[in-house]
């Protein structure tokens, strides 16, 4: 685990900026996750203190929403759409292909921390199903070959 105290300056500056915003907790969590890639444990007491909430309330909110992570993310995040529109265009087969290709379950992360799978429910690309989002970028009209190529590119990415 990284030394989380290194994250405190960013956390405190986010809190300083946002603490008086009405309904500040989601904007704060988004800002921390955007800055650090995840919401470290060390952020919880700071947020609770700044917003006059209990730590349990803050943790409750973090765990309620699918988007918030409490551990550092993999280098690449691949979010395949699992919704009905994509399923009607072979989404389930693509999901199976991904699991096999990477040897992971639907929510898994490769041992080297290179790729994480995060199923998503609808990317709004339903007129061009199936679709996925890779590191924030959308790809639609996905084919099995196209998917294999995207995954291989992530696995071979030597920048890490």
């Amino acid at each position: 685990m990284p030394d989380e105290t290194l994250h405190l300056p960013l956390i405190l500056s986010v809190l300083e900026r946002e603490k008086d915003t009405p309904g500040a907790l989601l904007p704060i969590l988004h800002a921390i996750q955007e800055g650090l890639g995840y919401i470290p444990d060390a952020a919880v007491p700071e947020i609770a203190h700044a917003l006059n909430l209990s730590q349990a309330e803050v943790r409750g909110v973090i765990s309620f929403y699918h988007d918030f992570r409490t551990t550092p993310p993999a280098r690449h995040i691949l979010r395949l759409c699992h919704a009905e529109s994509c399923q009607s265009m072979g989404g389930a087969q693509l999901a199976a292909q991904l699991r096999e290709h990477l040897g992971l379950d639907d929510h898994g992360t490769t041992a080297d921390g290179q790729v994480s799978l995060r199923p998503v429910y609808c990317l709004g690309a339903c007129a061009c199903s199936p679709a996925l989002e890779l590191d924030g970028q959308l790809h639609a009209r996905l084919t099995p070959e196209g998917l294999r190529e995207l995954v291989n590119r992530c696995l071979e990415d030597g920048t890490c």
Binding site: P22, G23, A24, L25, L26, P27, L29, H30, L51, E57, G60, V61, F64, Y65, H66, D67, F68, A83, E84, S85, C86, Q87, S88, M89, A92, V120, Y121, C122, L123, G124, A125, C126, A127, C128, S129, A131, E133, G136, Q137, L138, H139, A140, R141
Partner: protein, 519 residues
Amino acid sequence: MLTLCIPGDSIARAVGADEVAVALVREAERRNLPLELKRTSSRGLYWLEPLVELESADGRLGFGPVTSKDVPSLLDALQGDASAHPLALGPVEELPYLKSQQRLIFARAGITRPLSLDDYRALGGFEGLARVIGQSGEEIVASVLDSGLRGRGGAAFPAGIKWRTVREAKAAQKYVVCNADEGDSGTFADRMLMEGDPFLLIEGMAIAGVAVGASMGYIYVRSEYPQAAQTLRAAIDIAREAGYLGADVAGSGRAFELEVRVGAGAYICGEETSLLDSLEGKRGTVRAKPPLPALQGLFGLPTLVHNVLTLASVPVILARGAQFYRDFGMGRSLGTMPFQLAGNIRHGGLVERAFGLTLRELVEDYGGGTATGRPIKAAQVGGPLGAWVPPSQFDTPLDYEAFAAMGAMLGHGGVVLADDSLDMARMARFALQFCAEESCGKCTPCRIGSTRGVEVVDRLLAAPDDAARDEQVILLKDLCDTLTYGSLCALGGMTAYPVTSALKHFPADFGLKSSEADQ
């Protein structure tokens, strides 16, 4: 000088619009060809994306779907006989798919640049807001009431009644909240509108704020739509700079501010009360009603909550009059609805038409049947909580009441088509599992019933004989009844739609003879 338009819409980009744009600029430079490239919104003719349009004396000429490999030949054709190119579609506005539509909300789709105020104003933008400046809140509310506009998010509640309730509520602070948490599979109209015509939503919200006496508005956008949030934020800054937002909205003397908030991947936050809790910085838990959000909404204060499409319908109603708007539609479903064709469909895209056309016209005439060319099995109308409608019921008119009468709903107007290879038992199980994953946990039928439902479907599919199957079918139907009548909100309350419709129309997928499922 060539002027070409190519959409900057996120789905056009997901199928290669950016690559085509870059290739066009490079190739034009190489040829020393003066080129102006405009990044517009999308027409919503998604099967043709990336759709490149040439501005010409005869209107816009379309080419699509274009890949970067097609760029050299396309530029050859554009310098000579454009209509000879194999991807040439002719004048885009003459395409039957588009020409037969009645676009009131999406009047500017594919034509304007999303963040150009001049483009927006050139095609009727801010006329609705200009019209209300001299009017009292009561007059504005009367127009919305008279138009017959109903909430486009799914519940179809008369919008004017909500407006009146919020207007008459006494409070120092009121809010307008736009529900842009478009989570339903098969729907993308909100996304298209926010990315493509953000000023329309801003105008609709400003009118609403002025009418009900709210000085603050929030747009709650789902996190899966980052481009929509980014476009809206930029548009809000531009609109504020131009005096359409702020302390004195368009010279009305009334204040209205707007802020974008981003969700965090919880489907339930599309339910209005859980959205309000989420905006307040809490878990997105559903609230019991009453109290109505119109009286005790955001931070306990009177709040007008509407879907994107409802608010985006407001400017045209004010600009052209309630009567103009209510001349579209049938029965109590008045105005136009942007239907969205998705899933296994040849011509996926957005079809804005008055209520009353049939599902068959939508799926077959516009959609052109399945993309795979296999027979149609069913269409799921209204998102993941909508019923699977078999082709035998496709002649039902798209009207809130007609759909309710056959145990289905229009919802947000999304239609997902499926061919005969889709296993409906698996889809029924998926619906229950989805409910289990997305339940906020507040009420028991939804929190526990959904998980039990998945187990019952599993047991039904594994049952060794007819007697065992019968037992599970009875249990499943009973459970669906409990979900329908015992849940606090629509998530639990409507999860039964896809399950019972699949069971009723496709018993064979569950290993049942038709008589068993009919019991």
